[in-house]
Symmetry: D2
Subunit: 351 residues, 4 copies
């Protein structure tokens, strides 16, 4: 079958691969709408190490075309929403209660790109369908649901880790699609003042619609100083949803004592993360530093869809570009790679 992906590091194009095999607990899905993500282009450029002949893509909604003999809740023809993280729930890594992203090893639950082909194929494979597929909730559009599988689930995880209290001052560094979801989630979690950091006009506009009370730009000077000035001494909670390796230390520096820094941005293998001891209160300021990967599984996606259904958040604001047709995955992918100034999130309606 055909799929779009990386031929080798730095080289992308159409691939011809074997149709995936459906194990007894699994499902084969035909994608209906997919969305490229910076993780896809990042992987293509070698960000996760040398890979080749790999179909990319990890955000999809689609139709079940085959299920394994042990699958109970789904059957061919069902429309499903596919979390980008699909743990092996029989691995011990999910039993500790802290995260389900690391089933057998670090990031082990991220199967697409991580250990098998992604969703930009004619069909794709999902492990443990009963645990990892969610039926589309009534009242939620497929494209709104598509935005939950990574963007919303990841952005909201930043909010969860930040442990926002009612009325807290919160900063979100980076207002690309994940950062915008973190803004929406922080507003929905009881933040008071909510400061987005970003520059692109359409992102700034949506950040404000999602509840940002202030948006500051890297272009207007040091972001740490801007936050310290605005807040009179620092924010309670800071979510890192973009930036460079310097962002780590900046986030710590703009957080008040007893605050929390929550990271949902991928740092690079070559990065060193550092901070002046003083910014961290010499190690004793009760400033927690946390960082986690998008949680997986069907229940979480169901919860996200509840928020959409009941009008708490409109995820479709993220969709800046739409394409139609399977072959347009290429254009969407190239657009994501190019990252034009007006891009937030492209989606491709397969048919």
């Amino acid at each position: 079958m055909k799929g779009y992906g990386m031929i080798s590091v730095g080289k992308h194009g159409w691939l011809e691969k074997e149709r995936p095999v459906c194990g007894p607990l699994d499902a084969i899905i035909k994608p209906t709408i997919v969305a490229p993500c910076t993780s896809d282009t990042h992987t293509m450029h070698g960000g996760s190490g040398p890979k080749e002949n790999l179909i990319l893509g990890h955000e999809a909604v689609g139709t079940v075309v085959e299920v394994g003999v042990l699958v109970q809740k789904f059957k061919p023809g069902d429309f499903v929403v596919v979390p980008c993280v699909t743990p092996d729930w029989t691995a011990l890594g999910v039993q500790g209660g802290k995260s389900v992203a690391h089933d057998t090893r670090l990031f082990g639950s991220f199967k697409f790109l991580g250990s098998k082909d992604g969703v930009f194929g004619e069909v794709f494979h999902v492990n443990q369908a009963d645990a990892n597929l969610a039926a589309l909730t009534e009242g939620v559009s497929p494209e709104a649901a598509l935005m939950t599988v990574d963007m919303m689930s990841t952005g909201f995880h930043g909010v969860e880790m930040a442990e926002i209290g009612f009325g807290d001052t919160v900063v979100v560094i980076g207002i690309g699609p994940v950062g915008l979801m973190a803004v929406a989630g922080a507003a929905l979690r009881g933040a008071g003042r909510l400061i987005g950091i970003g520059t692109r006009p359409n992102c700034v506009k949506i950040a404000r619609e999602y509840g940002a009370t202030d948006v500051i730009s890297y272009k207007d000077g040091d972001i740490v100083q801007q936050v310290l000035d605005l807040t009179g001494g620092g924010a309670n909670k800071v979510i890192i949803a973009g930036g460079s390796q310097e962002t780590f230390g900046q986030a710590v520096s703009m957080t008040k004592e007893m605050g929390t820094i929550a990271n949902i941005s991928f740092f690079d293998v070559g990065h060193t993360l550092s901070m002046p001891a003083l910014a961290w209160g010499l190690g004793m300021a009760s400033k927690d530093i946390r960082g986690g990967f998008c949680p997986g599984g069907a229940l979480r996606i169901e919860k996200m869809m509840e928020l959409i259904k009941y009008g708490r958040v409109d995820t479709t604001k993220l969709i800046s570009h739409t394409f139609r047709g399977f072959e347009k995955i290429k254009d969407a992918f190239c657009l994501m790679d190019e990252k034009t100034p007006d891009l937030i999130k492209p989606v491709v309606y397969i048919d």
Copy 2:
């Protein structure tokens, strides 16, 4: 000085009392706006035991008229918001981290009504002014701030105890002013479906404005059955903000396994709270039952005012009746005692 209160159990009227004395850490406040509460009328009817010659009232904003020699942050003339719970912060009961409502004993931090005259006097006393008074936040109206000192702080405490996760189905039993604040707080905390239980038309209307997706009524049948039917098996989180002693068991019965019940409603001394073991999963359903008193102190009120300032919630929707003049405290109190169908919250502008 003059004050409105209880002469003895069941009897209320104007009292003549000594002007309170200001200790070195304390402040004397002249009220600007006050609001009667059911706790005031409940106390008058003997709900907290036999009391006499006690000025009532515990919700006020006002002007500082005197401060003790050790007070650093306030001076006569300052406009202040007064939490209804004002702990003695040097008592060990506040050091455990779980609640600050019980400074030296159960409810010890509730000084007004509890251990001294309330706020319905020409002036009133506040202990530990630096810790217990909040300056009015710029951009917040005095009457909006007044609604934080008990209604919002208590309602939001129900939400905090309920540990709402994103997308959870939440029920709020009772949509009087505290319940309405619990509804607003639950929506602001990331509830998905949000079911209010109440009947009075203006409360139902405001509940929906605050984010309730459904409102059901006691008049339409058993509320447990209604919730089970609506939710297909129970809510994730239930907040008790009103009702009778039966409400306790009902709340447990309408909560799913692994859910939480959070109580912010005063039960009576004579009540027995009971539930069928089966409703609590024979003791093993991981259904937590919690109940707490309005937390006190200035920081919390500052956080609440942040939410108002940044447009997250409009507390003035609670105000259904306004009065002008110190002597109108009597009318407002009588109205609260009578509880007319259109009453939510009366406020009295002193001058």
Copy 3:
């Protein structure tokens, strides 16, 4: 094959049943050592409703005799420790993070007795072997490991729910084998004063060895009053590990404001659990009431065995009676049903 169990409510004996079938993720285990539990006799007497022709038993260590085609970590001949709770990890009930005991419904993860035959057979079935079987940790004896699968895991869950802080005063009501493990767990969790409530001399002795600083008896008067007297006003944390329906209210009454009550004892279907509102601070004392079922899965058992391996706790103190031979399951079961005064926990070495 042969197994010991309930013929019908109130009637127990040897049964002849089909050998269980091993699904692709499952394992068939031949028991090496088993232990009867009050849950077995309780089920036999109809405590979980009308059942018939059911092999009982849910505490076992044994040898793998067969594994399904998808099992990766175990093979025939492996010696394994079997948690009494073996969730279906692909069910959504395990994804919420609060408990894994309710996979598809309340107690759904308790398969033995709950939805299939127990471990008192020539062989027995375990679902999702990779997730639910633990290899015996080096340095841990099989009988010590056997005590983890329910007794220690349940007793320690009471401790976890009680959220004991360093130096807290803790009460454990009931010092049968689960209560004794709760005593050991509370000591190991940083309790200061630790009061056991029980009467049987050998249990009292072991409670003290496990860290109880005081043991009081029902025979010496009202246990609430005894605890209030000993502690000068109540304990910080109370764990219910035995008793009757009255125990619920007693536990609340002996807990101080801001404390926690944690239940790990099965109440009966016919029980009503009640407390005076006053004992619960009229609903506002910040006394949390929690109750949960033994958590399941292999990781937890591995953690419990770590504690044994490193000498933190000796679970074999619980073993008061030993039997040898498969056919002695009957004697052990009858002893458990009879509950002689010297009984704590009987074990049967199959061969």
Copy 4:
């Protein structure tokens, strides 16, 4: 009056200072036993910036010689235990619930050395006596209590932040007196394997007595590699109780995904704390990094003394050297500054 302290940075000796004045909430204490700490010598060497003419010392038990008019619980002659951190409880920094160490600003609650003279005087001052002084618990020796005020309270705070689960593998880096208390606390909190990192023979011996199952040394090679080898891939929880700025990155590197790093060691103003992004799972490994200052107040010290009273821990093992006489503070201080290989903790009995 006389006191021992720093004349200027790097220079210590006897000082002649004014006797402190007792405010209405305060107490003046005559020390009975004191203990120098590395924080004292560190401050003397300029570690907290340029200071002069400052009496040092922050660990003391003593006798009340004067109390302010508002003090209710203490009177001259009472024997008291003095937490090294004595918050101003009317400051808002204590109201957030996360830490009480930062009352008005970072470390504001650390008054001794931080904002006034320490305890190495003929008498010393304690703010808010009712909140900050603990009576000696019956059954606890004065020197055992002295070890709680900083060593145990700080070491145990590391354990609290590490959120140890039953059976977790825990590493404590640095086994000086605070690290030894972290070892004891981790064992008392349910750690399974417990690895201390240190070299000095008497510390190694006591670490084992306190529950360390392994002790490794910097001298035997890279500590990260040693921990990875011992644990087969990393510890669950790592507590930093000593070391250099490199220790930060090492601690992260030796922690498994989903683990926690808890710092209770003071880094220097000039330090930069850094880690390879990969060691932190590229920012997404769910490895929390926390760091906090010794919590203050009387309740915590009372809880610590409960643990001593009930035999859970013997803090006197820390005391390696004893001196007698007020003038011997100098010798004890010099010994602490010299840090002889056999030193753990010196104490000075004043009379």
